[in-house]
């Protein structure tokens, strides 16, 4: 009950802007502090006995990979908000999340491939995990292309919402089918966490980094939503101005045309 009331309050973009204006500096500050702690801890973490210092890529790679899927989850909830509840901010949230999610996915791919070079001897392997993340990246890009293809934001929002939900169904299918495809063609999977569970010396920095990256996403997302709301206001002001100009010029030229007709 409380939650729905809060959500309804936020339906007013002005209220949302006011709220985020107050909370964003705090969020950014906490994110910066946590990132600093996480990076320091990661730098201080001992080297792995097999992987050496390259294991530290994990502290960047894993939070990025985790967020690449989490962001699609956020977009799916926003898509439900668009289609079912018609929440005005849901469109904005979905649109703002797509490029951020694509960026996290891209970073997960890049850091993974940089980690793979010294460990597996190759930048890219058609491994199940890698392939399904690559497809996730392609789907993010397709969604962004859809957002960019249409001028009217609310029309684009409904189309993007349908595609996001279909993608949310499809991602587990792709994950499993790619797993399956891989076992057909490649006898052993390369991507394993060294065979053992993570030691505490690695686990703590990783947890801190995961929380820091999640906060980073929330901060960036709220800031992007603010930008999107302001951009839409500018757009509607421009449209109003354009229609006013057209109207006045029409009114000036109007009587003659009617007379001629």
């Amino acid at each position: 009950m409380k939650l729905t009331e809060t959500l309804n309050d936020l339906a007013n973009p002005t209220r949302f802007l006011a709220l985020t204006a107050r909370t964003l500096p705090w969020l950014a500050g906490v994110t910066a502090i946590l990132l600093a702690i996480g990076l320091y801890q990661s730098a201080m973490a001992p080297d792995d006995y097999q992987q050496g210092a390259t294991v530290k890529i994990m502290f960047i790679h894993v939070p990025n990979a985790w967020l690449s899927m989490f962001v699609w989850g956020v977009m799916s909830v926003a898509a439900l908000g668009t289609l079912v509840w018609r929440h005005p901010l849901a469109d904005v949230a979905a649109k703002a999340a797509a490029p951020i999610g694509a960026a996290f996915t891209f970073l997960a791919l890049v850091t993974g491939s940089l980690w793979g070079r010294p460990m597996w001897g190759t930048y890219w392997e058609w491994d199940a995990r890698l392939t399904s993340v690559l497809i996730l990246f392609l789907m993010y890009l397709g969604l962004m292309a859809l957002w960019r293809a249409v001028e009217d934001p609310s029309r684009a929002a409904r189309a993007a919402a349908v595609l996001t939900l279909v993608g949310a169904i499809n991602i587990p299918i792709i994950k499993f089918s790619v797993d399956w495809w891989n076992t057909l063609h490649q006898p052993s999977s390369v991507l394993r966490m060294g065979g053992s569970t993570l030691d505490k010396a690695f686990l703590w920095p990783l947890l801190v980094m995961a929380i820091a990256f999640s906060l980073l996403f929330i901060t960036l997302h709220l800031a992007a939503m603010r930008n999107e709301i302001l951009r839409r206001r500018v757009r509607s002001l421009q449209m109003m101005q354009a229609s006013r100009v057209a109207f006045t010029s029409e009114a000036a030229a109007g009587p003659k045309e009617i007379g001629a007709a």
């Binding site: 289609l83 497809i135 392609l138 789907m139 890009l141 397709g142 292309a145 859809l146 293809a149 249409v150 029309r155 684009a156 409904r158 189309a159 919402a161 349908v162 595609l163 939900l165 279909v166 993608g167 169904i169 499809n170 299918i173 792709i174 089918s177 790619v178 399956w180 495809w181 057909l184």
Partner: protein
């Protein structure tokens, strides 16, 4: 029920007549398959190894090519608005349209497969396996592609955007289709395992496709 049957009959008739373009898909399938030996070289052993993959890719691209017109033609002449406003549930109408599209554009691809298999040096079992997997898998391509077609028609954008949206969704179908064909030809694996998953994908898309397409039509058209 009779309304749906009439819709199916009408769509098939339009697709097969002059300007329908269902048979252009077959011609495209043939051309893509003929292009492959030029790209990889006319080595018959290599071609027979790549054969199922080539046929599947060709069928995927051909079905993508014809999907563009699934809703666009009806949108242009206004009959899509009638379908949306009619008393028949839009989900069922979408399913009927997709079924008609599959009969007009998907079935000819499967019928053409044996001829193309001959060109790619596939033996009888292999050709039969590819045809069977196409028969089980192309409905999934049509029904998931329908979502993209519905999105494209509500956005007044077709072509490239449709391809970019639909192709990632068709990856599981491609994986299991080729896997089942390979299993029947050489693989240590049983044919039935990937084949039944392929059938499951088709059945699932039979449910999801019409609902998603109807939702995007309902929300998108105004």
């Amino acid at each position: 029920m009779s309304a749906l049957a009439a819709l199916i009959r009408r769509d098939i008739r339009i697709a097969l007549r002059v300007g329908g373009g269902a048979l252009i898909g077959v011609l495209f399938f043939l051309t893509v398959t003929v292009l492959m030996p030029f790209a990889v070289g006319p080595d018959l052993a290599l071609l027979s190894r790549l054969g199922p993959a080539i046929l599947w890719l060709g069928a995927l691209l051909a079905s993508l090519l014809t999907l563009d017109r699934l809703f666009a033609a009806d949108h242009e002449d206004g009959s899509l608005d009638l379908i949306v406003m009619s008393r028949t549930p839009l989900e069922l109408a979408c399913a009927a349209k997709a079924l008609a599209h599959w009969i007009a554009a998907g079935l000819p691809l499967i019928i053409a497969t044996p001829v193309l298999g001959l060109l790619l040096n596939l033996d009888g079992t292999a050709t039969l396996a590819v045809a069977a997997t196409l028969l089980a898998g192309t409905p999934a391509l049509t029904f998931t592609g329908m979502i993209g077609a519905a999105l494209a028609v509500t956005l007044h954008r077709g072509g490239l955007l449709l391809a970019v949206l639909v192709l990632p969704l068709s990856i599981p179908v491609l994986i299991f289709g080729v896997a089942a064909s390979q299993a029947a030809i050489s693989g240590p694996l049983l044919f039935g395992t990937p084949f039944s998953i392929l059938c499951a994908l088709s059945l699932a898309s039979l449910v999801i496709g019409p609902f998603a397409a109807a939702a995007s039509l309902r929300h998108g058209l105004d």
